[in-house]
């Protein structure tokens, strides 16, 4: 018993506590657990199938998106290349690189 507790009340609680040896309760609890587990397993399977179906449905759009992105990147790289190969473009690139390095050299060199 905890020292701060009333001993009479403590005894009354101890006296009124029932000793349950109820197999029906144990079975019901386990059945409830099994029901929940099987529901979760079904939900997981449904989610998995739904995920697969979702990927199958959107895959044409994913392919279209990937080729659109690839075309866009090709265009961007070739435009940048063209600009960099001009004298003005080269000077601009060098100035930009030096400026960036000047402002960030500490971050680059010092750990």
């Amino acid at each position: 018993m905890q020292p701060e507790h009333d001993s009479q009340l403590q005894a009354l609680f101890a006296k009124s506590a029932q000793d349950f040896r109820d197999e029906a309760f144990v079975r019901a609890a386990i059945r409830r657990i099994e029901t929940r587990d099987s529901r979760r397993a079904i939900a997981r399977s449904v989610l998995w199938v739904a995920g697969l179906a979702g990927v199958a449905v959107i895959s044409p759009f994913l392919i279209d998106g990937a080729s659109w992105l690839s075309d866009g990147l090709d265009l961007a790289f070739s435009s940048t290349n063209r600009v960099l190969y001009t004298p003005v473009g080269t000077v601009c690139a060098i100035v930009l690189s030096v400026t960036l390095f000047a402002f960030n050299w500490k971050r680059i060199w010092v750990k």
Partner: protein, 184 residues
């Protein structure tokens, strides 16, 4: 054959072994834990709710939560405190569904204003039913759970001062309500 042997082995096993097995997903070991701990959980819930059907429903909910999370138990020694914590949380969640909060500082009902008069014989459960739920929870944790004020504060997330006050007021109210019953 092996199933019977396994059940018998589980029946004789130490609780620490059962907890370790249940944490790895052994349902038969968990069944044995339910068998051994049902008195503790069902008595606790009965003191709090006072209805046999609700008691068993809440007790089963406790074991369901226990099964779901037993894999994350770090130490077998922590099992008892952890079970009590689940019992408290389950009760609080059921209370929240009934619009009841632990922070509720409602006044204790006055003697004579409720349906029961002091002269009526009251058993412990009837007396507990007359105490507000937050106070009842602290009293039950103290007397049925054998927990210290500090442990109750930690389990219920109620300030220590409030826990002490709840237990003091709740115990006084219980003594008052049970006075006639004790003398008879």
């Amino acid at each position: 054959m092996s199933r019977v042997a396994s059940a018998a082995e589980h029946g004789n096993a130490a609780e620490a072994t059962l907890i370790t097995l249940a944490a790895t997903g052994d349902k038969r070991a968990f069944e044995e834990i339910v068998r051994r701990r049902q008195s503790q959980v069902r008595n606790f819930m009965y003191y709090l709710c006072g209805h046999a059907t609700e008691r068993d429903d809440l007790a089963q909910q406790v074991f369901l939560t226990l099964w779901r999370s037993i894999g994350s138990l770090r130490s077998v020694d922590a099992f008892d405190g952890w079970l009590k914590r689940i019992m408290v949380t389950t009760w609080q969640q059921s209370g929240r569904r009934k619009r009841m909060t632990l922070a509720d500082e409602s006044e204790l009902p006055e003697l004579g204003t409720s349906a029961e008069s002091p002269s009526q014989r009251l058993d412990l459960n009837a007396a507990l039913a007359l105490i507000p739920p937050p106070v009842r929870l602290c009293v039950v944790l103290a007397y049925a759970g054998g927990m210290t004020h500090e442990e109750i504060a930690a389990a219920t997330e109620v300030p220590l001062g409030t826990v002490k006050s709840h237990i003091l007021r709740g115990s006084a109210r219980l003594r008052e309500l049970l006075a006639d019953y004790r003398h008879e």
